[in-house]
Every structure is written in structure tokens, then in C-alpha cells.
């Protein structure tokens, strides 16, 4: 204790000086945060605006993140009037001029979400606090999207979600400052139901394996409602289904690796369809193993056994290799689409990087253009005005036909693709074939069913 009583004059002076410096410096920092009467990260008279691209660069989804980043860079180029303009030429009605956003050059900052809510928020905060990002976008999971979206609402920064498929993102966790271009689990179910009826019939008994977390649950819920009817499914109403029966629905731990103990009970359960509500590595592993257990070649109840994977991506198809052949699923977008918007994007992306874009890349590219366009429409970067420009905005020429950002929940509505793993791929990219494009009217729903509140325009 003696140490503490011996505060000599010299030390006392030092302490005083240090304290004074702290106190002197403090107001500076407080005032830096005071956005009085303006809005967060107002670019003011600066010649450029910064967008924050927050994607997984490490971890299981880093390939997806890398592809998202490629798309963002391409979008920035096009916005700044470089390159061939890609979808800017097909996107209608467009207010984009090819001279940046509102005459300011677009720059960007990147970060690593690690596909963890904490890291993603930390990264987004860095973009906002340090780099002055005006808009945050990206990500490859619903957990991250919901977490970052919530934070952006608090900070008053617009968030354009990347790849997120859970109903919650624009359902119970929707936010005024968050927008989603990607489709969701409900729409997957709505799109797949009729196609499944046509392709494999309505007298089917289904076995569900479901990743044990929120996205998996919403996916299972939607798939069951649209195949069995909503009577037996919690949280869903008024959906007729296609007459399927449920044999079992089993939750599997995330990252289980080996799924054999969940797959073997399917073999003799009397089920003739297996629905894998898994994503990413889980889906690659469970599908590979399910096929190893001979499910694909099995005959049950006099019918061919079928496997359905509600959410597909090209990267997952690559990871599953041969096993993906003939498997039905849904996807947001595919590079093989023939409409002018998709073609323009694939051409620009291909010219830049030498291979076609993934659906995550497509979503991220569109999100960036749409944000820029909304700023141009609003004539300002002031978020409440930009949000109003995006709400209810209808457009075409971005790949999925006529598209609308619904004002009530900020969910984007467009046609949904039902795809099948290609039996005879003509090239290394040709992994999915489009079975049917389910029109937008079939996948629309009442925004009230998922609850949630958007919150205020002004924060």
C-alpha cells in the first residue's frame, strides 16, 4: 500500500497534465458524434461518397463473399461511368447517370463479417464510424443480416441486405433502414409447391431434415405448409398444400459434419421424399451422404425416391459435385437466364473476371445500383428520403422480370426460379437448369403474417 501514499510533486504534476490533456481532448470527440440537424455521414461538399461492402472473407462462406465483393466492385465501376455499364443499360425506370451518385464519385470500403453477428456488426461500425460509409451492404447469412440491419437502424444508415433467405429479415425483424433484394423461405416454398406437384406428384410422404436454427425452422415451416397444407404447421395459415403427408421432421445440429445418424432412419421410414432444409456446408455434406446411403436409387411405395433442397446456390452445387444431379430446388437468379438484364450483367461480369457471377453476386450488384438510383430519385442522400424513394419502387431489367420493393415490409417481389441439378452439364459452370419460373403473383403474401415493425424514418 505504501506505493500509493507516495505521490511526489513531480508525479502529481504529471498526473495533472495527463488529466488535463484527457479533459481537453474529450469535447472534441463528443462533438465529432454530434450530427446536429443533419444525418449520419452526410457527404456534404465532399467530391465522393463511400459505400460499405461487408462480406464474409474468412470462414465457410468466404468464396461466396469473394464473389459478392467482385459484384460490388463492378457496380461501383458502372456507377462511376467506367466499363460497359452492365445492367445500367437495361434497368428501367432508371435515374442513373453514370457519373457516380448525385455527381459524387463512388468509393468503397470493405470488411470481413466472418459470418458472425458480432464481427459483422463490428465491421459495419468501423465503416460507419471510421470510414464514413453512407450505406452498408452484403453478408451471407440471415443471422448476420438481421444483426447488421438492427445496428444500421440505430445508426441511421441504410442497409441493403446481401444473401439472406430467412423470413425474419423482412418479417419479425424487419427495419425501416433495411431492404432485401433476395427472396425468402416462404417464397421458396410457394414456388416449389406447384412444381413438386407437377414433377413428382401429390401422393407423397416427406421426411424433413432441418438445420437447428432460425433459418432452418422458417424453411421447414414454409416447405411443409406448401406441401402438406398449413393446418398442421405452426405460424402458417390458409395455404392449401399439394396433399403430401409428413413422416417426420427432425432437427440436426449446425455443422454436424457426419449426418449418417439422421439419414439412416429415413431409409425404412416409409418416406419417399427427403427435404433437406440445410444450407452451405451442411447441405453439401447431408446431400452427399444421403446419396451415399442409396436414397437416390431407392424405390419406395412404388415410386422413385426424391430429394429436395429448397435453397440452392451454384457454389453449393459445386461443393456437392455429381450428387446435385437431378435434385430440385429454388434459387434467386441464375446466370443462364436469357433476359436482357441478366445477359448484360453476365457479360460485364464475365469480361471483368472470366467466369459467370453467382446469385449472391447478382443480388449485391442489384442492391448497389438500386441504392444509387434511389438517391438520384430522391435528389439527396438524406436517408428518410432515400428510403421513401425505395419503398414501393417498381422496376424491370434486373434479371427477374418486373420487380417491386414492397413498402410494407421492404421485401423485394419478383419471379422465383425453380431449378434442378443439371444431368449433363455442358461446361464447368453449367450446374443448374431452370425448370420453371414461378410468377411473382404466386409467391406474394400478406406482410402481416410475419409480424414485426419497420420503425421510424428519422432516428
Amino acid at each position: 500500500m505504501s506505493d500509493f501514499s507516495k505521490l511526489n510533486r513531480r508525479q502529481a504534476l504529471k498526473l495533472g497534465a495527463a488529466g488535463a490533456a484527457t479533459i481537453g481532448a474529450t469535447p472534441l470527440f463528443f462533438s465529432r458524434n454530434a450530427w446536429a440537424e443533419t444525418f449520419a455521414n452526410d457527404p456534404g461538399n465532399k467530391a465522393s461518397v463511400t459505400l460499405g461492402f461487408n462480406v464474409p472473407q474468412t470462414g465457410a462462406y468466404s468464396d461466396e463473399g469473394a464473389d459478392e465483393l467482385r459484384a460490388y466492385k463492378l457496380a461501383v465501376k458502372h456507377l462511376n461511368g467506367e466499363g460497359d455499364g452492365g445492367m445500367m443499360n437495361t434497368f428501367k425506370p432508371s435515374s442513373l447517370k453514370g457519373n457516380g451518385i448525385l455527381g459524387k464519385k463512388v468509393t468503397f470500403t470493405t470488411g470481413d463479417t466472418q459470418t458472425k453477428s458480432d464481427a459483422a456488426r463490428a465491421s459495419a461500425k468501423r465503416m460507419i464510424e471510421k470510414d464514413g460509409a453512407l450505406m452498408i451492404t452484403g453478408g451471407s447469412s440471415s443471422g448476420v443480416a438481421v444483426a447488421v440491419q438492427g445496428m444500421c437502424q440505430e445508426a441511421g444508415i441504410i442497409f441493403m441486405a446481401g444473401l439472406t433467405h430467412s423470413n425474419d429479415t423482412t418479417g419479425k425483424d424487419k427495419r425501416r433502414y433495411g431492404f432485401r433484394h433476395f427472396f425468402n423461405a416462404y417464397m421458396s416454398g410457394a414456388a416449389l409447391g406447384p412444381v413438386l406437384e407437377k414433377e413428382i406428384g401429390n401422393d407423397r410422404r416427406a421426411y424433413h431434415l432441418t438445420a437447428d436454427y432460425t433459418w432452418g425452422w422458417t424453411q421447414e415451416q414454409s416447405m411443409r405448409a406448401f406441401t402438406e397444407g398449413s393446418d398442421n404447421v405452426d405460424g402458417m395459415d390458409g395455404i392449401k398444400g399439394i396433399g403430401w403427408e409428413n413422416v417426420a421432421h427432425v432437427k440436426t445440429p449446425v455443422g454436424a459434419g457426419d449426418f449418417s445418424q439422421y439419414i439412416t432412419p429415413v431409409l425404412n421410414s416409409g418416406a419417399d421424399v427427403l427435404v433437406l432444409n440445410h444450407y452451405g456446408k451442411d447441405m453439401i455434406n447431408s446431400l452427399t451422404q444421403a446419396i451415399q446411403f442409396g436414397l437416390r436409387d431407392k424405390q419406395v411405395n412404388g415410386k422413385n425416391f426424391e430429394i429436395v433442397v429448397p435453397l440452392f446456390s451454384r457454389l453449393m452445387a459445386q461443393g456437392a459435385g455429381e450428387n446435385i444431379k437431378g435434385i430440385l430446388g429454388s434459387t434467386n437468379w441464375n446466370w443462364s437466364l436469357k433476359d436482357a438484364g441478366s445477359q448484360a450483367f453476365v457479360k460485364a461480369f464475365g469480361a471483368e473476371y472470366g467466369f459467370p457471377p453467382s446469385m449472391a453476386a447478382h443480388t449485391c450488384y442489384c442492391q448497389t445500383l438500386l441504392y444509387a438510383n434511389a438517391c438520384e430519385m430522391a435528389g439527396t442522400f438524406y436517408p428518410p428520403e432515400v428510403i421513401k424513394a425505395l419503398e414501393g419502387f417498381s422496376f424491370d431489367g434486373m434479371g427477374n422480370g418486373a420487380t417491386e420493393y414492397r413498402a410494407a415490409d421492404h421485401q423485394c417481389f419478383k419471379d422465383v426460379l425453380v431449378v434442378r441439378g443439371n444431368q449433363n452439364p455442358s461446361s464447368q459452370f453449367d450446374l443448374l437448369e431452370v425448370v420453371q419460373t414461378t410468377p411473382r403473383s404466386q409467391v406474394e403474401y400478406d406482410p402481416k403474417i410475419f409480424g414485426g415493425e419497420l420503425g421510424p424514418y428519422k432516428v
Partner: protein
């Protein structure tokens, strides 16, 4: 009844995977006293031996796909197929088992280099230092693999002839419904052989006897004029080979990616410790035990009684065992229990 039997098979198969990884880990961890966080990375390197080998076998002429004009889309025509026709194709088909042949020398090299270059200097250092250096090494190895192969899993097919399922039920007169994939049965046998080989080496050879003596008391063995250091290098190399070949054989079950080692790392530590420090038999027993318990806990009948039990069962069993048996199943006194 069938569902019970098949879960036992699942458990054995899972257990075989756990036991093989734990076997290598317990050699360096339980006996050399090195907390090796890079063991998972060695397992992963083994798996990527298979990936690389297949890549080499399928070096291809890229036949351009004319229908795609925007970028270089192609179909592969492997040279092996062009030069040797069906024989070439057959060789590619057998890529996974064949890659064991390159995995063994490669893993010996990896183990040797690791022990000589790094681990040797850490025998006498604190466990904390060992953790940091091996964890650092694991990250570096992983990132190098990620930089060269990407983060997405790379599918590896088993040879066609064993792609289907065996009718195990008929072998034992239990009816037709008990089927199990050939490759998983092969994996089970393979791990049995590996475990037996390591045991025999340590138990029945003079060389192994000296190693065991050195593990107990390095100094005295050294005083007898035996170069125990060199033998430890060899033990380390053996551990690497066991883990690496386990990685190769596991690829058709689990498409490998750069992170697969980390996914197994924690589990393999749990297995080793539950088995008891310094006991090879313990590690193997614990591996199979935890595998079987996990399979049973995942059955719908069990899950409907205790929801979520399959999420925690391994750790729950570990806690129970460690609380009832102070040194795990067969742990030796004095090994890392202070």
C-alpha cells in the same frame, strides 16, 4: 431392431473417425506431452493429398464450350483418359484409395519437418507456448490451403464399385432392410487396421518398447545410450501418417475444405482426454464410445423425450466420465494432471 443395429453401425463408423484422429493426437499429446492444436490441420492436409492427387490425375485438355461466348467455359478431357482410354478412367475412379500412396510419404515428411523444425524446441516449454505456436501453425496451414484451393468444399467420389450400399442384413441373416454404404464399411475396416498396426508397433516391437520407455522416463532411456530424440521424431511422423490417411479416407464421406481440421480439433481433444491421458487404448475406446452414444442420442425416439440432446450428448458424457473417473477411462497417473 434394425434401427438400433443401424445406429450401432453409424456409431462405430463415427467412432472410427474419432478414434483415428484421437489416436494420432494421443501419441503426441498424451505421450510426448505436446498440446498439438495443429493436429486437425494435419488431418486436413491428408484430405487435401486426395484432392491434389485427383487434380493431378485429371489434368485436362480444356475443350471449349462454344455455346458460352462470354467467358472461357470448357469441358474437361483428362489426359489420362485420352492416352489410356478406359484404363485411364479407371485410375481416376480409384483416385481416393490410390492417393493413400502419396499421402503416406508426404505425411511422414510433414511430421518429420514439424517435429524437427518446430515441436522439438517446445518439449520443455510451457503448455501455453505450445498452444500458441501450434495454433498459429494450424492457422497458417489452413490459410495456405484456402489460398490455393478456395474455401468451398471439393467433392471427392469413392470408386464406382463401392459407391452403392452393402446388404449387411443378409450377411447376418437379418433381412434386407439393413443396408450400409460400402465406403463407410471400408472406412471402418481401414481404421481397425490402422489402430491394430499402431498398437502392434508399440507393443510388440523392440523399437516400440524403447519408445514407450522413453515416454515414461526420457532421461533414463537417454542414459542408456539410446537416441530417444530420434525415436520421438518417428512417433510424431507416425501420428501424422495416422491422421493424414484418416483424412484421405474420409474425403468421400465429407467433401474436404480448408476448415475441416478445426471442426474436428475440439472433439478430438475431448476424445483423448475422456480416454485418459497417455493411453492409446483409452483414446480408441473413448472414440467408439462417444460415436455410438452420439448416434443413439440422435434417434427421433430419444430426441422426442429430451429435445436437443444430440447437440450436447458428447460433452455431457465427457463431463460424467471425467467426474466419475478422475483420469478418464484409462488415464495414466502423472500425465498432465497438474
Amino acid at each position: 431392431m434394425d434401427s438400433i443395429l443401424i445406429q450401432i453401425l453409424n456409431g462405430l463408423d463415427k467412432g472410427a473417425a474419432y478414434a483415428l484422429i484421437a489416436l494420432g493426437l494421443t501419441l503426441v499429446f498424451g505421450t510426448l506431452g505436446i498440446v498439438n492444436f495443429a493436429h486437425g490441420a494435419i488431418f486436413m492436409l491428408g484430405a487435401f493429398c486426395a484432392v491434389t492427387f485427383r487434380k493431378l490425375l485429371t489434368l485436362s485438355v480444356k475443350v471449349k464450350d462454344e455455346s458460352v461466348t462470354m467467358f472461357a467455359a470448357y469441358k474437361d478431357e483428362p489426359y489420362l483418359k485420352i492416352w489410356f482410354g478406359d484404363t485411364g478412367e479407371a485410375i481416376i475412379d480409384y483416385a481416393v484409395p490410390l492417393s493413400i500412396l502419396i499421402a503416406i510419404p508426404f505425411m511422414v515428411l510433414v511430421g518429420y519437418a514439424m517435429e524437427r523444425g518446430l515441436i522439438r524446441h517446445f518439449y520443455k516449454r510451457a503448455h501455453a507456448d505450445q498452444i500458441l505456436v501450434t495454433f498459429g501453425l494450424a492457422i497458417v496451414v489452413q490459410e495456405l490451403i484456402k489460398a490455393s484451393f478456395g474455401a468451398n468444399p471439393i467433392p471427392q467420389a469413392a470408386p464406382d464399385i463401392v459407391a452403392g450400399s452393402a446388404n449387411v442384413g443378409l450377411w447376418f441373416g437379418l433381412g434386407e432392410s439393413l443396408v450400409y454404404p460400402w465406403w463407410r464399411l471400408i472406412y471402418l475396416c481401414f481404421s481397425g487396421v490402422m489402430i491394430f498396426a499402431v498398437f502392434s508397433f508399440l507393443q510388440f516391437t523392440t523399437y516400440g518398447m524403447v519408445v514407450r520407455a522413453g515416454m515414461r522416463d526420457r532421461e533414463t532411456v537417454g542414459l542408456l545410450g539410446i537416441n530417444i530424440q530420434r525415436r520421438f521424431t518417428i512417433v510424431f511422423a507416425i501420428a501424422a501418417v495416422v491422421a493424414g490417411t484418416a483424412g484421405v479416407m474420409y474425403t468421400p464421406i465429407l467433401p474436404p475444405d480448408y476448415h475441416m481440421g478445426m471442426d474436428f480439433l475440439v472433439l478430438s481433444f475431448v476424445v483423448v482426454v475422456v480416454g485418459g491421458m497417455g493411453s492409446l487404448g483409452g483414446a480408441v475406446t473413448a472414440g467408439f464410445l462417444l460415436g455410438i452414444v452420439q448416434s443413439f442420442a440422435s434417434m427421433n425416439e430419444v430426441k422426442s423425450i429430451i429435445p436437443g440432446i444430440d447437440q450436447i450428448i458428447i460433452y455431457l458424457v465427457a463431463v460424467v466420465i471425467l467426474l466419475t473417473l478422475p483420469r478418464g477411462l484409462m488415464g495414466r497417473a502423472g500425465v498432465m494432471d497438474d
